[in-house]
């Protein structure tokens, strides 16, 4: 702690320095602030729509539809074959869920056929436009 002579000039100087620093801080972060405000509106909206999706049972229906389509197009058997490879690699006794998930999910997501994706997207967009407000 050093003792400073609190002269009036010094006080004015300190005050101005503080003001300048405050202004710079606000100016620099204004764009970030704005972005966060907009994002929070959008994320609120997304959260609200997600909630609607769940509450109206549409998410369950979409899940069932996706499941049926994936079985029909043979995706399930393909991914099961991938799982078999992981099991043979790690050994039948020591396979964990994490092993399976890590080994299978990225390839599994890529294996979903485009037609299935298109159809699901259509339904989701229809729901979004229907329940926009």
């Amino acid at each position: 702690m050093f003792s400073v002579k609190m002269s009036s000039e010094y006080c004015v100087f300190m005050y101005v320095a503080l003001a300048v620093r405050a202004r710079n801080y606000v100016a620099f972060n204004r764009s970030r602030f704005l972005f966060q405000i907009n994002m929070s509106k959008e994320s609120q909206m997304r959260a609200a729509i997600n909630q609607k999706l769940i509450e109206m049972g549409e998410r369950e229906r979409l899940k069932e539809l996706l499941r049926a389509k994936l079985i029909e197009c043979g995706w399930r058997d393909q991914v099961k074959a991938l799982c078999k490879e992981v099991i043979k690699e790690k050994g039948l006794e020591n396979v964990t869920v994490e092993d399976l998930v890590a080994g299978v999910t990225p390839k599994g997501r890529a294996l979903v056929p485009d037609s299935v994706k298109k159809e699901l997207l259509q339904r989701i967009k229809a729901f979004l436009s229907q329940h926009s407000t």
Partner: protein, 187 residues
């Protein structure tokens, strides 16, 4: 900062597309995870490899796609040309005609008993008259179907069959029907 509800129409298409893609990828991830859990449980409970068959037995039952042979590999009309020897009369009969021939030959089965009954009836008719009704019927039959022998035979056999089953019901003069008709006539 007010908590406003912004309508989706203010959201432009690219953002909506992005949002829909996000929802889709969540759903796909759910499906993947679900499958992983199922597989993991099957492995730990020991039923994962149950429905697999080994390669050898798979080859045994493969679908056959050759001409003249069904999908199991069997020839479907190989019994057409074969002939069997009848144990009763020692004749060789074609396979598709073997069962009916055996029926007649051994004297078992419905048709053969019917024919036998008919023969008995026709034999009796020529020898002695059993009942007036039956006689008249048979004589009438012969008169009606002079050229159509088959029809006569069929009718005869049917009549014989029926008569052998039922007792002949003669019209009872005191039956209520008769009296009814008489009543109407009087009125």
């Amino acid at each position: 900062m007010k908590m406003e509800d912004v309508s989706l129409s203010s959201m432009d298409n690219s953002k909506m597309e992005g949002f829909a893609q996000e929802i889709l990828s969540d759903l796909v991830e759910d499906a993947c995870l679900g499958l992983c859990f199922e597989v993991h449980r099957a492995v730990k409970q020991g039923y994962f490899f149950l429905d697999d068959t080994d390669q050898e037995s798979m080859k045994d039952f493969e679908i056959v796609d050759q001409p003249g042979v069904d999908i199991f590999g069997q020839v479907y009309n190989q019994w057409k040309n074969k002939e069997c020897v009848c144990p009763n009369c020692s004749r060789s009969i074609a396979a598709s005609r073997f069962a009916p021939h055996l029926e007649k030959c051994l004297g078992m089965g419905r048709n053969s008993s019917r024919i036998a009954n008919r023969r008995i009836a026709s034999g009796n008719n020529t020898n002695k008259s059993e009942s007036d009704q039956e006689d008249n019927d048979d004589v009438n039959d012969n008169d009606w179907s002079y050229g159509a022998e088959k029809k006569a035979k069929k009718r005869k056999s049917d009549k014989v069959f029926l008569h052998s089953l039922k007792q002949p019901v003669h019209l009872n003069p005191n039956s209520p029907r008769r009296s009814k008709s008489m009543k109407h006539k009087n009125d």
